[in-house]
Symmetry: C2
Subunit: 288 residues, 2 copies
């Protein structure tokens, strides 16, 4: 058990930079877990993985307004900084960086990072500008924290694909580590947004992963993608009260329409409930 009393916590960019410069001056590697807070076991897994493979670990907690569109759930996004700080310390974090919006965005000269075709699919199609905002905050955080390794969960598979592409094409000096999705016992992917489900919706929600697994089996059996997508949509609409935003089968991480030869695939969906939009996916290999 980590001594949680030694963990630092700062809302200031200048303090965060000071900390990482101290770490680097003593040749320590930095693992970094960027989060939007309301930490759950998925985040804990990221922090523990970072702790295992780095000399010290920074966790950021920042609900990033630039990745929420108009009418999305920026205001309703759950927050609990006290609990987050406790969980981060228990999981092994050495510092929590929890800036206010004004600290992160005091100025805006209008320069954007636009993800291009990788954002045309999946969540990007129904959340225009979302991944611009993700890339902006990730580049800012990476410039502030300057980590050796940075940890992302595979539940946000499109985010991961876009950030991996950005880091590769722009020579970003941190190494990205993919961490598998952590699930509830009934299979539901852990998500901060799950608290915004009603009891009934929470009971329905495991159908998302169950149905994706059935879809994966059908793809591996050679069933045509369109047929699989229709099957998954029908099942989800039967088993949940949510609205299916998309169900896609694509190559991963390119996010292109697969051909018969494509080996690395993702089957992914988003289901919109009244107060929570849930996403999930399975990334898998097929014999080419």
């Amino acid at each position: 058990m980590t001594d949680t009393t030694t963990m630092q916590c700062t809302a200031l960019i200048s303090k965060m930079i000071e900390w990482q410069q101290d770490m680097k001056a003593s040749n320590r590697t930095i693992g970094f877990v960027p989060t939007m807070g309301f930490l759950h076991e998925g985040h804990v897994a990221l922090i523990q993985e970072a702790k295992k493979n780095n000399d010290c670990v920074a966790v950021s907690i920042f609900v990033n307004p630039t990745q929420f569109g108009p009418g999305e759930d920026f205001e309703a996004y759950p927050r609990n900084l006290d609990a987050d700080v406790r969980l981060a310390a228990q999981a092994g974090a050495d510092i929590v960086f929890c800036p206010e919006v004004e600290e992160m965005y005091p100025t805006d000269g209008g320069i954007r990072i636009v993800p291009g075709p990788l954002a045309d699919q999946l969540c990007g199609a129904s959340r225009p500008g979302h991944f611009d905002g993700v890339l902006k905050v990730v580049l800012k955080l990476v410039n502030i924290v300057q980590p050796t390794n940075i940890y992302f969960g595979m539940k946000d598979a499109q985010q991961l694909a876009i950030i991996e592409t950005f880091f590769r094409d722009y020579n970003c000096p941190a190494t990205i580590v993919r961490v598998p999705t952590v699930r509830e016992l009934d299979g539901l992917a852990k998500s901060s947004r799950n608290v915004n489900l009603s009891d009934q919706e929470r009971n329905e929600a495991p159908a998302i992963y169950e149905t994706l697994q059935q879809g994966q089996v059908l793809v591996l059996e050679g069933v045509a993608n369109d047929v699989v997508k229709q099957f998954v949509t029908d099942e989800l609409e039967k088993k949940t009260s949510g609205i299916v935003d998309y169900i896609s089968i694509l190559t991963y991480p390119q996010l292109e329409e697969p051909t018969a030869k494509s080996k690395n695939l993702i089957i992914a969906c988003a289901v919109q409930f009244p107060k929570a939009r849930l996403i999930d996916n399975i990334i898998f290999e097929r014999e080419g």
Copy 2:
């Protein structure tokens, strides 16, 4: 005089990263001068300034294709790597980084950095996508070299304004140093493109700076901007065989239309000759 035999030279990103990591491991500050080569006294001034204020200096020489549009002079852009390496060494560089295009751009996932309204004026208006390419290569180079200080000439005033805004809004960890434009004895701004002028055009070209100076005087005397711009255009069309691409009076570095209260101004123009597009500017203060 620097011992030019000790200067290193590499075309490999991996070697460049190794060098900067060595420098950082021994706590040395790194000054960085990114160039497109065909070095002249303007670049030498940047390198000397970097040498004065850093423990070691890196110079990149890379004619960056992503900042040239279709029909622009990427192929005709002058190149002379041997002379550049000699000049960089004499000016005090410790390493020259001169990658091939394939080394810098092996992959392209389609993610772009778009400069927004700052690119609507001046060169951005007639060179769509130019500053996307500039921001891409600058971020790549900064990620590779990880400099303490980075040096830019003020001749490329719009480029400087956009890069300063990008660094500020994205927390890029290097400090930008502005270096004044170096001029020929007759006032013409030093530029690698000057070699593409005919003898007659070279004789006409000093009129650009002369006329900008006259325009500056008129602005300071309170003459309306539209009148000043017409005057400069008329003068340049009378005194040169080039075509005036733009003449602008804007706030600096915001690049907005000035009001009566605006204090920091730029008067800037671009003149297109058959084989060289020349730009120049004066950045000056006015009593508000």
